[in-house]
């Protein structure tokens, strides 16, 4: 008589390499079996190798930013060609473990190189810190009393707790890390164990032994593991912990924050849309408005902070229902980073939606649970968090009246028509919102502008001064 085992315990673990200060480690020794997902094994952790001594300057401190641009641009070029197959290999492993379907991963990986384009790097440095000079050296500033001061955006020592729901987070952490000239330990999430390491391997291939390459490490340990985090998360080794969302992560990291160790939180967020009555004007194609809304809802099959979950609409019931019907069709369409058939509607949402279906005319429901997406029309926001291509269209007397539904957890608000943004932006910002865009344009963001309420590169740097 023996107990039947969960199928996940029977699978051979996938090997997850680590990248430690420029060296790839492939010899695995520790196996993890996540409750949901595929088992994986990682190299043993040598904690001493995960920190950089403060007795030594950061390896890239004296490397001119221009040279770092060159390394990043060359990395982007190789990522595009992937002639070593590092990305392809990571993609195959990702596809086994990621909740995102292969076509979305393919698209994301195929476009990672775009984040390494020189114009984008320069724009970020120029807009966030006012130019390369303040990272490369000490910028002279004349004080009101006529004395000079010298300010430098100094290379920081950072731990990045990387989010894994989209591969771009790993790329963004590496690009900003390289621009900072600091040292960077990337703690990998179980939902993206591969992207960061693949990018760094690519960088090591274009610039073997380069100081920037030596400035990065990637490693997995179970988030919240006190034995490891209590040893590493100390101001003697690191200046800041950069945490990308996840309540559990941020709460866990918070335990180690104290004098000398700061938390930079890209807090977990949610996003909404607002559609004005202009959508129903005669000359407007409602289908196009619905398509723009669907774009914002379905990004990464609605698994990211930028994805809209509620659409507040100025409409009567009949107009809203027309919009919802169009929207439901548009949820069921393949896009660059969305699939016509996405994840099945989570069971607990399905149960709640089932009941709402029986509550007409207060509620109406379109779509299906098998991945095509679900639209719920109501007069009050639903009490659950729409997820897995589920969108709640809420009728509102005015967009201004819907501002009360934005709060400190609201990241992006997509507005239709674009001209209505200005009447709403102060109220939305006041409620806690940090980004207001035209409906359908949520992915047109760029680095160099604020993110989550601050300038990220500016905030990662250590700002130091010398005064005459």
């Amino acid at each position: 008589m023996s107990a039947q085992l969960d199928p996940s315990t029977l699978q051979t673990p996938i090997a997850v390499p680590h990248f430690i200060q420029g060296q790839l480690l492939t010899q695995t020794s520790t196996t993890y079996r996540p409750a949901h997902g595929v088992p994986f094994s990682t190299p043993a952790l040598d904690l001493g190798k995960l920190v950089w001594s403060r007795q030594q300057p950061c390896p890239a401190l004296h490397t001119p930013l221009n040279e770092i641009y060159d390394v990043l641009v060359a990395t982007g070029d190789l990522l595009k060609r992937d002639s070593h197959g590092y990305l392809a290999q990571a993609l195959d492993s990702m596809a086994l473990a990621s909740p995102l379907p292969r076509p979305i991963l393919d698209f994301c990986y195929g476009n990672l190189w775009r984040m390494f384009e020189r114009t984008k790097l320069e724009f970020q440095v120029d807009k966030e810190v006012g130019g390369a000079d303040v990272i490369d050296g000490w910028r002279e500033i004349m004080r009101p009393d006529g004395r000079a001061a010298y300010v430098r955006a100094f290379a920081p020592r950072l731990i990045h707790v990387v989010a894994g729901n989209t591969p771009e987070v790993a790329a963004m952490s590496i690009v900003m890390g390289a621009l900072s000239k600091g040292v960077h330990l990337l703690k990998l999430p179980s939902n993206d164990l591969y992207t960061a390491t693949a990018i760094l391997r690519t960088m090591a291939a274009v610039a073997p032994g380069h100081p920037v390459v030596q400035s990065f490490s990637t490693a997995y340990w179970r988030g919240g593991d006190e034995k490891i985090e209590s040893a590493l998360f100390r101001p003697q080794y690191f200046d800041k912990v950069v945490a990308w969302g996840g309540e559990a992560t941020i709460r866990s990291v918070g335990r180690y924050i104290g004098p000398g160790l700061e938390l930079v939180g890209f807090d977990p967020k949610t996003s909404i849309s607002m559609v004005g009555r202009e959508a129903f004007a005669q000359q407007v194609d409602l289908h196009e408005v619905a398509a723009a809304a669907a774009h914002d809802v379905t990004l990464y099959n609605q698994s990211a902070c930028v994805c809209s979950r509620f659409i507040f609409i100025e409409a009567d019931d009949a107009q809203a229902d027309r919009f919802c019907a169009e929207l439901a069709r548009e949820l069921n369409v393949d896009r660059d980073i969305a699939t016509a058939i996405g994840p099945k509607t989570p069971a607990d949402l399905r149960e709640q939606i089932d009941v709402l279906k029986l509550m007409t005319p207060d509620y109406r429901v379109w779509g299906g649970y098998d991945g095509q997406g679900v639209v719920i029309r109501s007069h009050e926001p639903v009490d659950f968090h729409p997820d897995g291509k589920v969108i709640n269209v809420v009728i509102t007397p005015s967009l201004a009246a819907a501002v009360c539904h934005a709060n400190v957890a609201t990241q992006t608000v997509g507005v239709y028509p674009s001209s209505r943004k200005k009447e709403l932006r102060d109220a939305l910002a006041g409620a806690g919102v940090q980004r207001i865009v035209e409906l359908g344009a949520t992915m047109r963001g760029c680095r160099g502008l604020p993110h989550d309420g601050f300038y990220p590169l500016h905030r990662l740097m250590r700002w130091v001064k010398e005064e005459d």
């Binding site: 039947q4 996540p34 990308w244 969302g245 996840g246 806690g432």
Partner: protein, 446 residues
């Protein structure tokens, strides 16, 4: 000729755990279809699910799997109905879960959620409410005839296999509220009706459990989320929570003293496990030793000690203290008509009127086997209920021995001790997407 379902539910009077399993299983299959055919046209939510899943009849246990509801269904009403006092809409909501028409019930004079619950009770529909993690209440309807059968189960099987006389001879202590729309509290009333001395009922709190009060918690959370709660009101709320906990501790002191004074009499002690633990501390402090209560005493508890600040062996210590009395140790949940009582071999037995379905982690595939121990997610079809559909999927992780006989010698599958829950904690998936819930802390935390 009795229907299969009647043959099973008749066992509430006795003999439930001695039936040949092959026969029970055959009756369960037939009874499940009888009940499905009866209820499908009458329960909107069941009909919709059956239509979606393409289930026309229950030919095997597998056909029940798409027809299971979790706890979520019973709290799926829009909160705005309650907040805006739209009691007729709440009635409509409840109506989608029930096979009997309730839309005729007059709710025009209802002023708050407790009124609504009372109004339904007066009309013959009892609601069991329970607060979930979000502070939002679920409402599980129980009709008078379903409750009569549950009362019979209490009379027949409390502390099974060593059942006490239902002679109404005991002084009852309830280590919680004595009245209110909750399964646990109603269970106290049912125990009292069979085992307690009429009029000799002592409650930790005489204040009835109020749903409006539980809802205040949810309302406070919402106010914080929306940014409309002032720091003063948050501080007052937290202080009030602390004061209430303190009052409960003092009430427990008083009830412990009363129990101590009457320790030689047959008692009936009921309440959540953590309260039994606190009671134990107090009785020990008065010098009472393990196993010294009157042997005619009945102890009943339910639920777990999850999250309570107690030692790991708290349950063992409590049970040692209650050595020599009738103690009711069941596995169960408030949605089921009966707990699964524990046999001499320390295993839990499934009442024949409840079909047990062991599913995979995702709750999609039936794992019930002909033999051997299988681990999986617990689900049930409770054939006893006529006032709602009894298909229930839980978050409990069980190991069931599907051998023909339990180690105690009785026929049929048995549930092994060591029940845990499926959780997603520790998956270490980090995502940038989350809700305002992450931004709320303190006494109102989920």
């Amino acid at each position: 000729m009795k229907t299969a379902r009647t043959q099973l539910t008749d066992l509430i009077h006795g003999g439930a755990y001695d039936q040949p399993y092959a026969h029970v299983l055959e009756l369960q299959r037939a009874a499940a279809d009888e009940l499905f055919q009866l209820q499908r046209p009458r329960i909107g939510i069941l009909d919709q699910r059956a239509r979606d899943a393409g289930i026309e009849r229950i030919g095997s246990l597998r056909d029940i799997v798409p027809l299971l509801f979790s706890h979520t269904t019973y709290k799926s009403y829009p909160q705005s109905f309650v907040d805006k006092g739209q009691w007729d809409k709440m009635l409509r909501w409840l109506g989608t879960l029930m096979p009997i028409p309730i839309d005729h019930i007059d709710v025009s004079s209802v002023r708050n959620v407790d009124d609504w619950v009372n109004c339904l009770r007066d009309a013959g529909v009892r609601l069991y409410a329970s607060s979930g993690t979000s502070g939002r209440c679920s409402f599980v309807p129980v009709t008078a005839s379903d409750r009569d059968k549950m009362q019979q189960i209490v009379a027949s099987y409390t502390a099974w296999p060593n059942t006490p006389k239902a002679d109404r001879s005991r002084r009852l202590y309830q280590l919680g509220a004595g009245a209110g729309p909750a399964r646990q509290i109603d269970n106290v009333q049912m125990l009292a009706a069979s085992f307690a001395k009429p009029g000799d009922l002592h409650y930790l709190s005489d204040e009835p459990l109020s749903i409006a009060f539980v809802n205040r918690h949810a309302a406070m959370r919402r106010a914080i989320a929306e940014g409309t709660a002032t720091p003063d009101s948050i501080a007052a709320y937290e202080r009030e929570s602390a004061d209430r906990a303190e009052r409960m501790q003092r009430a427990l002191d008083a009830i412990a003293e009363d129990i101590y004074q009457h320790r030689a009499e047959p008692l009936l002690l009921t309440g959540p496990p953590v309260q039994h633990w606190y009671l134990l501390q107090r009785l020990r402090a008065k010098g009472m030793k393990d196993g010294t209560l009157n042997p005619n005493t009945v102890v009943s508890t339910g639920g777990g000690l999850k999250g309570a600040a107690v030692p790991d062996d708290a349950t063992d210590q409590v049970m040692r203290f209650y050595t020599g009395v009738y103690s009711h140790l069941g596995y169960g949940m408030s949605e089921l008509s009966s707990p699964f009582p524990r046999c001499e071999a320390g295993r839990y037995h499934c009442p024949p009127w409840i079909v047990i379905l062991l599913l995979d982690r995702n709750g999609e595939t039936l794992l019930n086997a002909a033999s051997g121990i299988v681990e999986g997610r617990a689900a049930f079809l409770d054939l006893l209920y006529e006032g709602r559909w009894g298909g229930l999927i839980s978050g409990d992780k069980l190991r069931i021995d599907f051998s023909a006989r339990c180690e105690c010698g009785r026929p049929g599958p048995s549930i092994l001790d060591g029940i845990t829950r499926y959780t997603d904690v520790g998956d270490d998936k980090i995502t940038c997407a989350d809700t305002i819930d992450a931004y709320i802390r303190g006494a109102v935390e989920a």
